[in-house]
């Protein structure tokens, strides 16, 4: 699956995107976040305040309970501020 990070989420994680395989036991955005947080403190810092975090699966806004598959594009970002 493809992960995208924007704005301060990108800055905290230290990259704008990455491709990782989806573990078999993970099926929601929230579970994916729990897994990422265990990968390192940069993810913990980025996902620390979920009230300020938004996500989209395949370019559709959704909650942390949105279901995901290994072919999805999953993005994490702050609330959009527009152009």
């Amino acid at each position: 699956m493809k992960l995208l990070y924007f704005a301060w989420v990108r800055q905290k994680i230290g990259r704008s995107e990455e491709d990782i395989p989806l573990p078999a036991n993970i099926s929601t955005v929230g579970a994916l976040m729990d897994m990422l947080v265990k990968r390192g403190p940069e993810y913990a810092a980025a996902f620390n305040d979920v009230s300020r975090l938004r996500t989209a699966v395949n370019q559709i806004h959704g909650g942390f309970d949105a279901t995901i598959t290994d072919s999805d594009e999953i993005a994490f970002f702050p609330p959009v501020t527009g152009g």
Binding site: L4, F6, A7, P78, P79, V80
Partner: protein, 147 residues
């Protein structure tokens, strides 16, 4: 022909307005809008970060919605990304229609979307440091009008 683009380069509003009417004589009105970086509060630069594929898809959907709401002949939306200094053009919206009211309505509808809900983030650079801009309540109200 109108276009929907996200780009680093500047644009020429005159060229974009002309493109909306090129080769046709049914357009009576072109309302357009240019957004510009203001140098408020000692702003030194603003970097616009876009979720480009998502933004293009949402802008395209909002242009389609505008065409359903008003009888429009053509629409262009051009949005820049990257680091911009005060005075730089950020965004262009141009709407061609037969009558002026429809073009004004649609241009403002698209701008309200772009300025509030489009997937862009703004990093402001000031002498005090760089900060990500937080969403503003008044902009949300502007976008709510069209519900």
């Amino acid at each position: 022909m109108g276009a929907i683009r996200i780009q680093l380069e500047d644009f020429d509003p005159g060229v974009e307005i002309a493109a909306l009417t090129q080769g046709r004589t049914d357009v009576g009105a072109v309302a357009s809008f240019v957004g510009i970086v203001r140098g408020d509060d000692a702003l030194e630069a603003m970097t616009l970060e876009a979720y480009e594929s998502f933004a293009l898809r949402e802008i395209t959907a909002h242009v389609a919605e505008a065409k359903l709401r008003w009888p429009l002949l053509d629409v262009s939306v051009i949005h820049r990304a990257g680091r911009l200094t005060p005075g730089a053009r950020i965004v262009f919206v141009g709407v061609a229609s037969m009558h002026r009211g429809d073009s004004f309505r649609a241009a403002e509808f698209l701008m309200d979307y772009l300025k509030t809900r489009a997937p862009f983030w703004k990093l402001e650079e000031k002498s005090s440091g760089a900060n990500w801009v937080e969403p503003r309540g008044t902009d949300d109200e502007a976008a709510q009008r069209w519900k």
